[in-house]
Amino acid sequence: MVKGPPLTAPRLPGWTLIIAAITLIVFFFPALGNLLIYDRAAIIHGEIWRLLSGNLVHFSLAHLLYNLVAWLIAGTIIELYGYRFFPVLILSSSILIGITLYILEPELYFYAGLSGVVSAAVAYLCLQGMGEKGVLRWLCAAALTGLIAKTVIEIRAGSSFMLLLHEEDFVPVPLSHLAGIVTAILLFSLLRVTPRLRQPAR
């Protein structure tokens, strides 16, 4: 477990707020969204930043709000608890999601949404929380199990709960959630096996 300092004074969840602000700006400036969206054809023509920046674009207000609420919850708690390497998690999950979709979803021409990174943050939070004491440990274990199970079911079924609930009119891509969860597990494992990185943040 990579534990942060004791909770004395609340700290500002800086990274969480920065990412939230960027997604809001991108949403309200569609031209910026066009420049940043995961566009397979543009990526092939050299615009490789889209692999990463597609996570910051959203298709609709509902799409944005769902992702943003989840992001604010997960990101704020990670930063409040002082769990380390959160910026590394954000960057690495964004890149891995883009690369995974590019390789494993060749028929996906456009992709947008922060949910893959949110899944990474939630999985990371659960993994860290499993090192805490008491009920929280079991709550985190159950949440992580549920998150992985739901994602795997959606990928295997080729559908999602979102479609069943008719919540959006675009095709959900649960593979991005799996890529995010895998990134979180890899980063957490790396921290566990590297003693030098296990030093708590001050």
Binding site: N34, Y66, V118, E132, L136, A143, E168, F170
Partner: protein, 302 residues
């Protein structure tokens, strides 16, 4: 000389008689009409509106409205383009507000299937001022957040006792149609404008001809029913033409990109089925909220 004067007088009287007879024969005509030209360009002495280059940011917010008749015009005393005066009118009685709404809903239903349409606003007639032109459309644009407006106009003529030909005045010019006894000719015209640039994108007319065969005793009821049916048939024809004109317009967008600027927003990409989204559903969101509450509860206990 005296004989010549009598001849002229006789010719004048005969001319008057024929004029009166012709007028009486032609008077069996009812006309109900509104015009997009009158609405958009009410004052011909005003400078000609020069359209700009439309920037179509997809998906579009579309408004649909029937144009009102020109200010001060009593439809009951409207004149046919052929110059004859109808003996009866009825103004907008031919097309009540409810009937207009029904027709607009039919058009809206057809437009909704396209991914480039974000939403459609049905605009009540009261919102449009007669001869309001583009200033009125700008108000609609601000008030209802519209990008594009579909202006509907209609022209319905019913003949009861004389064979005539008559003329529809459309945005594209005159359309001359021959007429028979008890015929009901209807034309609905849809003109699609980009409000910001004042550019007409495309138009689609729909026409209907109903051959009436009513007896004099039930003529009034029959004509009313034919009038209603005429609007329904013209709407079907117009909607079909709208699809065709839209397909042609799409081709025009590809062929002449210098005339139209198209911006495809992420929302449009999603709606057009070309992309996928990383999105959370309610189940996941509830799970995350529960997890967050657990962490905060623990923080409170520390």
């Amino acid at each position: 000389m005296k004989r010549s004067g009598i001849s002229i007088l006789t010719a004048f009287v005969i001319s008057l008689f024929y004029a009166a007879l012709l007028s009486a024969c032609a008077s069996g005509t009812t006309k109900h009409a509104t015009s997009v030209v009158d609405y958009l360009f009410p004052k011909t002495k005003d400078p000609i509106v020069t359209p700009g280059i439309p920037v179509l940011s997809l998906p579009l917010r579309v408004g649909i409205a029937f144009v009102p008749p020109p200010a001060g015009r009593d439809l009951r005393s409207g004149r046919l383009s052929s110059g004859f005066t109808p003996f009866q009118g009825g103004g907008d009685l031919a097309l009540t507000e409810k009937r207009k709404t029904d027709l607009m809903l039919e058009v809206a239903k057809n437009f909704k299937k396209y991914p480039f349409v974000k939403n459609i606003e049905i605009i009540p007639s009261a919102y449009l001022t007669p001869g309001g032109s583009f200033a009125n459309l700008d108000q609609m644009r601000t008030m209802l957040e519209l990008d594009v407006i579909v202006l509907l106009s209609y022209d319905q003529v019913q003949f009861t006792d004389q064979t005539l030909s008559f003329t529809y005045w459309t945005m594209a010019g005159p359309l001359v149609v021959p007429a028979q006894n008890n015929d009901t000719h209807t034309m609905l015209d849809a003109v699609v404008y980009d409000i910001a640039s004042r550019k007409m994108l495309f138009r689609a007319p729909g026409t209907s001809l109903i051959n009436g065969s009513s007896m004099l005793v039930d003529q009034s009821q029959e004509l009313r029913a034919d009038g209603d049916r005429g609007f329904s048939e013209a709407a079907v024809s117009m909607i079909s033409n709208l699809d065709g004109q839209l397909a042609l317009f799409k081709e025009k967008l590809k062929e002449r990109p210098e005339e139209f600027q198209v911006v495809r927003t992420p929302a449009y990409i999603a709606r057009s089925g070309g992309g996928g989204g990383g999105s959370l559903d309610s189940v996941m969101l509830l799970l995350f909220i529960g997890l967050g509450a657990g962490f905060l509860w623990l923080k409170g206990r520390r």
